[in-house]
């Protein structure tokens, strides 16, 4: 069982200091609960109700954030996007021509890069948006913003982690 600390570290990678906004909410207490290696973000109120359902029969409650792998590493799932996107400090926008590539699970290359947040550090989590501001996934920046400017058109800018295409591609493994 991974420690909650580790989990939060990873989360923080994605959304930084804003993670505390997820815990301290004005509209009730929310918490993270782990069930069958999956981590769910759920309000206390909903949690109490969900507890009446036998664990065997409970499929999911609240929002699934990710899962612990067999090697006890935490992996964010695309299902967490609902919460990550609004709080993400670093964003990247892809051109319409590159949307499809990303939705099929490919990395983002320089030529598909539309916009990028200033001062994005290397190897920090970024949320990927379309040019019409629809979040379509997240990944890890492989270069800083400055480096991107001078990068080769075919160089990878963002490593793919998760994209909304997974709702179709791997529906079974989401939970």
């Amino acid at each position: 069982m991974a420690s909650p600390a580790e989990h939060f570290d990873l989360l923080a990678l994605g959304i930084g200091v804003n993670v505390k906004l997820l815990i301290d909410r004005p509209d009730g207490t929310y918490c993270f609960r782990e069930k069958k290696d999956r981590v769910y973000y759920i309000s206390e109120r909903l949690l109490h109700l969900a507890q009446t359902v036998k664990p065997d029969n409970l499929i999911a409650a609240g929002t699934c954030f990710g899962k612990f792998t067999k090697t006890n590493k935490f992996r964010l799932h695309i299902t967490a996007l609902t919460y990550i996107a609004p709080y993400a400090p670093y964003k990247i926008w892809v051109k319409p021509s590159a949307e499809q590539q990303f939705l099929y699970g490919h990395h983002i290359i320089k030529s598909g890069l539309g916009r990028i947040t200033e001062n994005t550090p290397k190897h920090h989590g970024v949320v990927v948006y379309t040019m019409s501001d629809i979040p379509i996934g997240f990944g890890v920046a492989s270069r800083t913003t400055a480096e991107c400017r001078h990068a080769d058109p075919l160089a990878t800018i963002v490593f793919h982690q998760a994209d909304v295409g997974e709702y179709i591609r791997s529906e079974d493994t989401l939970t």
């Binding site: 109700l49 359902v53 499929i59 939970t175």
Partner: protein, 815 residues
């Protein structure tokens, strides 16, 4: 979008700042261009002169014509007088027929002769000829414009003529020899005419020829005062008229021929015809059935026609006979064909905007930019869009993946709209997969409150998870229970949506396998499960909820067995009443269906058909729970109750009283006739009853099972009335004794426990089996309470699981 020209100067356009700070002034036109049509130009001198000349000429012409006419009339009068003298059939009608030209001498007698010849075989043809003659004459005297009028009056004048002819026939006897004479005259005159360079006038020439001949005669009359072009015009008009008349005649003949639909012979039925022939035959039979008394073939009964229709429909639309028979009982033939036709074509693709993430307008704009052609689904929905065509896969656009919309049939909006969820409520969707309706509920609740999405199939719950996360639903708990056990898990929901598994007869377009695979047993299995689910749904709901206490029951089937009957069943067993669904369209639910007589309030439920509403066949009923007390179950007559014959007391769903008990035994007798499969179920049911009561009902039950003749049914009823009185008392005492627990003597229950638990377990998760064994008796009791009909299942227990699968298969269809 250009400037608006001010053609009309009278209307002043208000000046003022518009969107543009500086507006372009209205264009100004020259006076000449704005010339008004109404003012008349002054004529020049020459023009005036010419006009005067024209007028003078015209006047002269009119004068000339008048004079001519006068002369002709005089001649005609003289002629008439001579005819009268002859003493022939000088009826009043003849007089205006006088020919007014120089040919009158030979024309008149000829015509008369013709009439006499034809008056004996009074065919349509002769009538029409007469008509035409008359018309021609009148056309002569009046102006040519009168032709139209005459045309329209054809029928009436024809009838009049018939009357006239009759009169003539009456006089024929006396004047027989005269007519001979006349004929002779006519022929001689004919010759004369021929010699005179006129046209041949054979009596046997076709009608058209004659018409044209006469026309020419007339034309000759007016030769003097008409321009050639006028003559040509008149000729053309006449010709057109004749053509039209001939065409009409032909049409009449054709219709007369078509009207008679020949019932196919045995061999014809044996040898399969081509599909087109079958289709034509279907049409014919439908028309025959539409006006049976007039169109039927002598000696054929309605049954024969309906049987033929049934077979043809099965062939043409490839249904199995059972399902077609059921459908024929639901729809009148005309509507049935429409329904079948509509079931062949898929409904338009509709999508539902996810109001949690976007607005419909924004979504529509985004999709239009992607090359999707769409429109709002209708006034009744604020979130639906119809997709007409699309250049991209509508289920894989970035908007779809980002959860801005979900593909959902228009009919699937309805139950959720009927449920009308409120914010901060606790709501249960009992059969939620794949989560379309459930996510709609969550969207309406704006992610507040709690939504329980349950589905019995674990594989399909994954679809719920995927859809919920995609659509951003965060207030949901997704669980995997058998819906019938859900009251054990949790109760006290404000609203419950039960979109029950069904045979899918409303969504045949989506899953054509329904046509051939469904039979009586499938339907029976479905409605048994539906009843249990509905009772469970009602149990889950809380009547004490301040905002809710509503249950919505919906299916994508159109069979009353799965809809009205199920609701009717629940009305009797729980403290619920029907309330309006809040859907302002759709047809009312059935109150009568074959031998069933449902509760009158079932009118409040709504049916939707593919052919009338252009959405999948659907049924929606909204129930309000007004008491959490579960009435003493009418265990004994559950099966019997199955019959809708029970004329419900309005009270019965409200009060805990035995009224409905009494009714049920009666119906029992009929039930087996209709649905034989349930006949044997009566027996086990009786066991449940209290020992005292038990004895008598058993007696009743037996005759039912053995033979279902009406006589026995009657005797049953009589016997029952006695029993009922007693059982009533019993039932009431039961109510008092045990409101909920129903502590039953174990001995009574035992046989049933074995019967019923088995099928149930088969259906439910196998895991549970072990655990349940301990509680087996309790379970059995509750199940009995819920639906004694499970006994029917015992016979089908091996199939139970297969059915479960089927039900699941059908489910996605309406999502």
């Amino acid at each position: 979008m250009g400037r608006k020209a001010k053609f009309d100067e009278t209307k002043k356009v208000k000046k003022g700042p518009g969107r543009k700070a500086r507006k372009q002034p209205d264009p100004v036109f020259k006076k000449e261009l704005l010339e008004d049509d109404t003012t008349e130009k002054k004529l020049t001198h020459r023009q005036k002169q010419r006009a005067a000349k024209r007028a003078k000429k015209k006047a002269e012409l009119v004068e000339k014509r008048k004079a001519l006419k006068q002369a002709k009339k005089n001649v005609a009068k003289q002629k008439e007088v001579t005819i009268n003298d002859e003493g022939d059939n000088s009826s009043d009608e003849e007089t205006p027929q006088g020919f007014t030209d120089d040919n009158k001498e030979w024309l008149k007698p000829k015509q008369k002769g013709k009439q006499k010849e034809k008056s004996k075989p009074k065919t349509y043809k002769s009538e029409s000829e007469d008509e035409v003659d008359e018309e021609d004459d009148s056309g002569n005297e009046d102006d040519d414009g009168s032709e139209m009028e005459v045309d329209s009056d054809d029928d009436t004048s024809g009838k009049k003529k018939v009357g006239g002819e009759k009169y003539k026939v009456g006089t024929l006897d006396d004047l027989f020899k005269d007519s001979d004479n006349e004929n002779g005259e006519a022929s001689s005159e004919d010759e004369g005419a021929d010699s005179g360079g006129k046209l041949e006038y054979d009596s046997d020439s076709s009608a058209a020829e004659k018409y044209s001949d006469e026309d020419e005669d007339e034309d000759d009359d007016d030769d003097d005062d008409m321009l050639p072009i006028e003559k040509a015009n008149i000729k053309l008009k006449k010709k057109q008229k004749i053509d039209k008349q001939l065409a009409d005649e032909e049409l009449q003949l054709n219709i007369a021929k078509q009207d008679v639909f020949a019932f196919p012979s045995e061999e014809e039925l044996q040898n399969p015809a081509s599909l087109q022939d079958v289709h034509q035959r279907i049409k014919d039979v439908v028309t025959v059935l539409g006006d049976f008394n007039r169109l039927k073939e002598e000696g054929r009964s309605r049954c024969e026609y309906t049987d033929l229709l049934l077979k043809d429909l099965c062939t043409y639309y490839s249904y199995n006979e059972f399902l077609m028979e059921v459908l024929m009982q639901i729809f009148p033939v005309q509507e049935l064909v429409e329904f079948l036709e509509a079931s062949e074509t898929a409904r338009p693709v509709t999508i539902r905007t996810n109001s949690l993430k976007t607005r419909r307008r924004d979504l529509a704009q985004a999709l239009i930019n992607r090359g999707v052609n769409l429109d709002p689904v209708g006034k009744w929905s604020k979130v639906g869009l119809v997709v007409y065509s699309s250049t991209v896969p509508i289920g894989a656009t970035p908007e779809y993946l980002a959860g801005h919309y979900i593909l959902q049939g228009a009919s699937s909006f309805l139950p959720v709209m009927a449920l009308a969820p409120q914010e901060n409520e606790r709501i249960l969707d009992m059969c939620a997969a794949p989560g379309g309706k459930a996510s709609h509920i969550a969207a309406i609740m704006k992610n507040t409150g709690t939504l329980f999405a349950n589905d019995a199939n674990k594989e399909r719950t994954k679809a719920i998870v995927g859809n919920f996360h995609r659509l951003g639903v965060v207030n949901a708990v997704i669980c995997n229970h058998d819906g019938r056990e859900f009251p054990d898990v949790m109760k006290g929901f404000d609203r419950v949506l039960l979109d029950a598994p069904c045979t899918g007869t409303g969504v045949i377009a989506k899953d054509p396998s329904v046509k051939t695979t469904k039979d009586q047993k499938d339907i029976q299995r479905c409605f048994n499960i539906q009843r249990q689910l509905l009772l469970a749904a009602i149990d889950c709901c809380s009547a004490k909820s301040s905002t809710g206490g509503y249950i919505v029951y919906s299916t994508c089937s159109i069979l009353p067995e799965e809809n009205e009957w199920v609701v009717n069943y629940a009305l009797k067993r729980r403290n619920v009443k029907l309330v309006p669904t809040g859907l302002d369209f759709g047809t009312e639910g059935f109150v009568k269906y074959r031998h069933h007589r449902f509760h009158p309030s079932l009118k409040l439920t709504r049916r939707f058909y593919p052919h009338t509403h252009n959405m999948d066949g659907f049924y929606v009923a909204k129930l309000k729970k007004f008491s959490n007390v579960i009435p003493e179950p009418f265990k004994d007559e559950d099966d019997e109750e199955i019959d809708g014959k029970t004329t419900e007391k309005a009270t019965e769903n409200g009060d805990v009283d035995g009224d409905s008990d009494e009714e049920k035994p009666k119906s029992e007798s009929k039930k087996p006739v209709k649905r034989p499969a349930s006949a044997d179920s009566a027996q086990p049911q009786q066991k449940k009853a209290k020992p005292n009561v038990q004895v008598k009902p058993n007696v009743q039950a037996k005759p039912n099972v053995q033979a279902k003749s009406n006589v026995q049914a009657k005797s049953n009823v009589q016997a029952k009335s006695n029993v009922q009185a007693k059982s009533n008392v019993k039932a009431k005492s039961n109510v008092q004794a045990k409101l909920k627990g129903q502590p039953k003597p174990a001995t009574e229950n035992k046989p049933q426990v074995e019967n019923k638990v088995q099928p149930l377990d088969n259906i439910s998760k196998k895991k549970k089996k072990n655990k349940k064994n301990k509680n087996k008796q309790n379970v059995a009791q509750t199940d009995n309470v819920k639906s004694p009909n499970t006994s029917v299942n015992t016979s089908q227990s091996p199939n139970a699981q297969g059915k479960k699968k089927k039900k699941n298969k059908n489910k996605p269809a309406n999502k």
